[in-house]
Amino acid sequence: MAITPETKKRLVTAALLTPASLWLFVFLVLPFIAIVVFSFGERAPEGGYQASFTFAQFANLGARAAAFKNTLMLAPVGAFLCLLVAYPVAYYLAVKASPKYRLVLVSLVVVPFWTSLLVRVYAWMYILGARGLPHLLEMVGIENVRLLNTPGAVLLGIVYSYLPLMIMPIYVSLEKLDRRLLEASADLGAKPISTFFGITLPLSLPGVMTGVALVTILLLGEYLIPQLLGGGKVFFIGNALVDLFLQSRNWPFGSAIAVTLVVVVVIILLVAMRIAWRVAGTRQVDLV
């Protein structure tokens, strides 16, 4: 049987996709199946997992309601704060900055990502700790100020850490912006502010949506910053998972929470993608 060019193309595609598919299956799908199986089990008397088939773990999710509530509040608030700080930066980089320096400026946004997040958070611990800013405040007579382990410190840490993830997609969507549209808008008598709200902002919405979705999803699993800059006093889902797997060794309950979190993330992702596609789709139709 002769191999048609069409079949050959398909075989090549399949061959190229095999490593990635295997990788995903072994390291993503299989562990997730294990977690789903665990979530229907029971905690062994000494801790760990004991085979069983019960929905008790899911029925008990209410015991971590506070963690879900805190996380579901932190994620959008954190993402919104990131957006507020990131948009002007991305706008400046893509529209205002001189092309000569643009690459350097964009690199400056990305370079901190090359350093471990831990090291950067530790730096903030030092800056906000008693030997940092509070010490400077003491010199000007303001004593016993506490900045570390406060909700403000957690929000600051989150905005700082996730900012590049918000800036980059917005930057990319603004960079693609057709300047002729802005010129046309000005020629037709629109003020810069109307041009911004009528053209620039809508055209950058796919980037905004991508950034918001990216940051929100990552924030849903956030563990480190609340622990290090918040003093471990506010419990998020990430913290609840660490506690259940490492402290109380209740794997089935931890698995049930992990599965629920994955479901929540998937829902958020689907909604965000749908909105982004709709926004991008209609605008692109307009452009043609």
Binding site: A63, A66, A67, L118, A130, R146, L224, K233, D243
Partner: protein, 387 residues
């Protein structure tokens, strides 16, 4: 600059957790340190030359080039492991943990990679029951001496006449107070929880560890440190949740915050109390007159140890009084072996933080095996943290 392509791969979830837990305790893994400084490579190269670093004492058995130990923060003299590496050619990776529960979780999950670890007294029977540790072959630990050990601190290493663990050191769980910030005189756990809500508002720390945090709350209410009675735990929970808004942090790694004076008061283990007081004399260490914990930490070898020969070699090295005495001087915890006590300088053996009066030890209790596995205490801790 990387020596290995693996260094450039994104960190795995478990790798990240390992690094994070280590850094959270204020410690960096030895391998990481050796890697970034190039010392690891240098050691590896040196060990390729027979006789360059190896000692005839260890020539009989192949110890490999690498082993891993799981232990507690601020617990060893870093020179100990360097000297061991110099003597044997075996590089030691140090994994630092914050609670026995975490150690148990890691061993239960399998493939911890440790060839030696440091469990606390009340966990050993559980490890033995779960078949996670091996009966020690004391013939491979000639430096260990049963006769010079204080039996008060060694009994829990033996189960049914078999030795599963040998003691590292003992200690107490009290609290440290920065006396330049807090003027009230504290003597009890009742005082601790009261001052945490008043004079030390926003400046007190409790452990991220159910045994000591719940235990101390129970003691402050007049109950036993190990209680698992529902009504007593409910009272302890009520107290902890009342205190929580006033806390600086829930964290077992309290030295950095106490040293920077972000925190003024913390639950504290002997060795940390001694180290803090040595470097900052205004930080006093107090044992609750109403009770609290007394403990012994042991060395044990996991059944899954990938390099048992090196595990035994390091254990034997650590049991040598000449090496152990340096450890005790560095970490500040009291010794269980009279041979070591005899070698310690007088300023340590007369230090009341390290060797308190017998009377102040009387109200203290050893942790009970049941508190480690009691789901009620674990859930209480979670409710406290999520409140």
């Amino acid at each position: 600059m990387s020596k290995d392509y693996k260094d450039n791969l994104p960190i795995s979830a478990s790798g990240f957790m390992d690094e994070f837990m280590r850094l959270k305790r204020g410690s960096v893994s030895r391998r990481h340190f050796l890697g970034i400084t190039g010392l690891g490579l240098a050691t590896a190269v040196m060990t390729r030359f027979p006789g360059a670093l190896s000692s005839p004492a260890f020539a009989a058995e192949d110890l490999g080039t690498q082993m891993s130990i799981a232990t507690w923060p601020n617990y060893h003299d870093p020179a100990t492991f360097e000297n061991f590496t110099a003597a044997t050619g075996v590089a030691v990776e140090v994994n630092v943990f914050g609670s026995n529960e975490e150690m148990l979780a890691k061993l239960q999950a399998g493939a911890s990679g440790w060839s030696l670890f440091v469990p606390t007294n009340y966990t050993i029977s559980t490890y033995q029951k779960l078949d996670l540790i091996e009966e020690l072959d004391l013939a491979k630990v000639p430096n260990f001496s049963q006769t010079t050990q204080n039996p008060r601190f060694t009994s829990e290493g033996k189960i049914d006449g078999k030795t599963y663990a040998v003691p590292k050191n003992w200690g107490t769980t009290g609290f440290s107070v920065n006396t330049s910030k807090i003027k009230s005189k504290l003597t009890t756990w009742k005082d601790f929880f009261e001052i945490a809500q008043t004079e030390a508002d926003g400046r007190a720390m409790v452990h991220d560890y159910q045994l000591t945090t719940i235990g101390s709350a129970l003691v402050s209410l007049g109950y036993g440190f190990n209680s698992i009675k529902a009504e007593e735990l409910a009272k302890a929970e009520e107290l902890l949740i009342k205190v929580k808004p006033h806390l600086f942090a829930i964290n077992s790694d309290y030295q950095p915050s106490m040293r920077s004076t972000d925190a003024w008061m913390t639950m504290c283990w002997t060795n940390d109390g001694a180290q803090l007081n040595r470097d900052m004399p205004e930080i006093a260490y107090i044992l609750g007159t109403d009770g609290g914990e007394i403990w012994t930490d042991y060395y044990a070898i996991p059944k899954s140890a990938p390099n048992k020969a090196a595990g035994y070699a390091l254990l034997n090295y650590l049991m040598d009084p000449a090496n152990a005495v340096k450890e005790h001087i560095a970490n500040g915890a009291p010794a269980t072996d009279s041979r070591i006590i005899a070698l310690l300088p007088k300023e340590i053996t007369s230090n009341k933080i390290v060797y308190p009066d017998e009377a102040s030890l009387t109200p203290l209790e050893f942790g009970a095996a049941v508190t480690l596995t009691d789901p009620g205490r674990a859930e209480l801790m979670a409710r406290f943290k999520s409140a």
